[in-house]
């Protein structure tokens, strides 16, 4: 027989029943809530002009919207229920930390996703820092040029 894992929910968190086709959040909204889908299906999407573009279908036992709980940035995408759903809304980092600690089986996927994004972001930071260093070198040489009169030398580090 297949056993279906259910998250352990502590007393401060509640499972909400949400109807089909309900918008949970929209792009650019300031909302730090992380969501955990206990049952049902949720769509993450963005608009290109007036058209909706699907980005991800959230499945049972997956988090969504969790990034903003740490970044406090406006929502990057929209989220809407596709079916009647059971959802846990997690409003603080402490609540999320406790929820993950009590449901350790959920942490692996979450950490895997974050490590993937971290690897990509580190690469972008390194590229940006290299570009910044090159700009500084050019500026330094240009400043020297002003100090010492005309010069045709220009150093650009790639």
């Amino acid at each position: 027989m297949l056993s279906v894992k259910q998250p352990k929910v502590n007393t401060t968190l509640q499972i909400m029943d949400v109807e089909e086709n309900m918008i949970l959040f929209e792009k650019d909204e300031m909302d730090d809530t992380a969501y955990f889908l206990v049952d049902g299906s949720v769509k993450l999407y963005a608009y290109k002009g007036d058209e909706e573009h699907d980005l991800r279908h959230v499945k049972k036992n997956e988090f969504f919207g969790e990034h903003e709980i740490y970044s406090h940035a406006p929502r990057a995408v929209c989220a809407r229920t596709l079916t009647p759903c059971k959802i846990i809304a997690i409003r603080t980092e402490a609540e999320l930390e406790q929820f993950v600690s009590e449901n350790r089986w959920l942490s692996g996927k979450m950490m895997e996703d974050m490590s993937q994004k971290l690897a990509e972001t580190n690469k972008a930071i390194a590229a940006k820092k290299v570009a910044d260093t090159s700009t500084n070198v050019v500026l330094e040489v240009q400043e020297k040029k002003t100090d010492t009169g005309p010069s045709t030398r220009r150093i650009v580090r790639h």
């Binding site: 740490y70 970044s71 980092e93 600690s101 009590e102 950490m111 971290l118 930071i125 390194a126």
Partner: protein, 115 residues
């Protein structure tokens, strides 16, 4: 019990490109994470006591994307495999929550710095 290793200032713990999937929890000292471009070290982050590093490659199973070296005299607990990490988290249930939180912060900060 996890094995503990020591490193002296400037000692390299791992280097970019290495096939090394270990993760480290810093017990004492601090560690610099950096990449080398055109022979120059570019600092990405300094990791302090009770924080961890090297987790990206443990999850991604890919060569190191950056290098790490000790800034001061350093003591680190070493987690060699995903299985060991799972075991450690089952013995210390709060760690999974804390690790998720730290990774979330690290990612948010990293994204902010390239925004």
């Amino acid at each position: 019990m996890l094995p503990v290793i020591n490193a002296k200032p400037d000692q390299i713990i791992f280097e970019e490109g290495q096939n090394d999937h270990r993760m480290f929890i810093l017990l004492e000292g601090s560690v610099q994470l950096y990449v080398t471009r055109n022979g120059k070290e570019i600092d990405l982050e300094t990791v302090d006591k009770f924080h961890f590093f090297g987790e990206i490659e443990m999850f991604q199973k890919k060569p190191r994307t950056l290098s790490a070296k000790a800034v001061t005299n350093t003591r680190m607990a070493v987690i060699k495999t995903r299985m060991q990490l799972e075991q450690f988290m089952s013995e210390h249930p709060q760690f999974s929550g804390k690790m998720t939180r730290m990774m979330g912060h690290r990612l948010a900060q990293a994204e902010q710095s390239i925004a």
